[in-house]
Symmetry: C2
Amino acid sequence: MTDPSPTRGIGALADAAGCKVETIRYYEKIGVMPAPPRTRGGHRFYTHDHVKRLVFIRRCRGLGFGIDEIRELLGLVDGGDATCGQVREIVARHLAEVRRRLADLRAMQRMLAAAAAECEAGTPPACPFIDAVYGAGERA
Amino acid sequence: MTDPSPTRGIGALADAAGCKVETIRYYEKIGVMPAPPRTRGGHRFYTHDHVKRLVFIRRCRGLGFGIDEIRELLGLVDGGDATCGQVREIVARHLAEVRRRLADLRAMQRMLAAAAAECEAGTPPACPFIDAVYGAGERA
DNA sequence: ATAAAACCTGAAGTCACTAGAGATTCAAGG
DNA sequence: CCTTGAATCTCTAGTGACTTCAGGTTTTAT
């Protein structure tokens, strides 16, 4: 029932990881996925380990890690010495970045909501948003 | 004291708007900034209106608008018929996008904070983050 | 007059993919 | 065995919003 190592084509791998076929070939080219064995005809085929690795990469991307950060994480995994300390440092660094972006977006949201509200109430001849953004800072 | 139209070079314009010289040339190439007059030698020179326009563009970028959205906004400004209705629609559309990104980032933040906390408490042999992200979903 | 700073053009690099062209291979049915 | 259609192959170029580089020209200050 449970085949220990069901090899599969690139399409099946893509389905398993929830990404596109092209993305896998791209990951191979940039070196985060290993070059898999090929059939006589040249088609790639993958094992369960490949699935695990790709899913890991995709999850990290989903958490906002950049490829280089993922490379670091994978280096730790591959080296076998994935100590918490090193991982925690990478995660903490990234978390700080996420919080910065969050703060930026929140500021944007406030400004935009205010602008929209002003527009809502604005008198049609001129637009408060345009006036505020285009004209502000002039002759002030 | 107040020179009514102090023309300036591209460097001074960049300083006034808080961006790089190359960015201005890029904006000119893609058509959001007009091609300014030149000196005999071919150097661009700008007027007060250019400053206003560039500051507007930079503020919009700061609010997260994409170049194409800025193009729409500028079209309205240039046409003179910058009615609230049209602007409000663009702003509202963008605000929705910002809120989506906010939600995404908040989710990321939660996951990362949880991962970091687990790592903090984790026992050195294996790393909870790696286990969770790499191993999760397997044989579950 | 000369030297340093600013400016010019055009092409290529960034990030993480995505899309397309055109050829080949695989799996299934008859 | 043969054919068809889906899947896969390689390679190139495009996305957004710039940034960086190379190599040359102009301006400005001394």
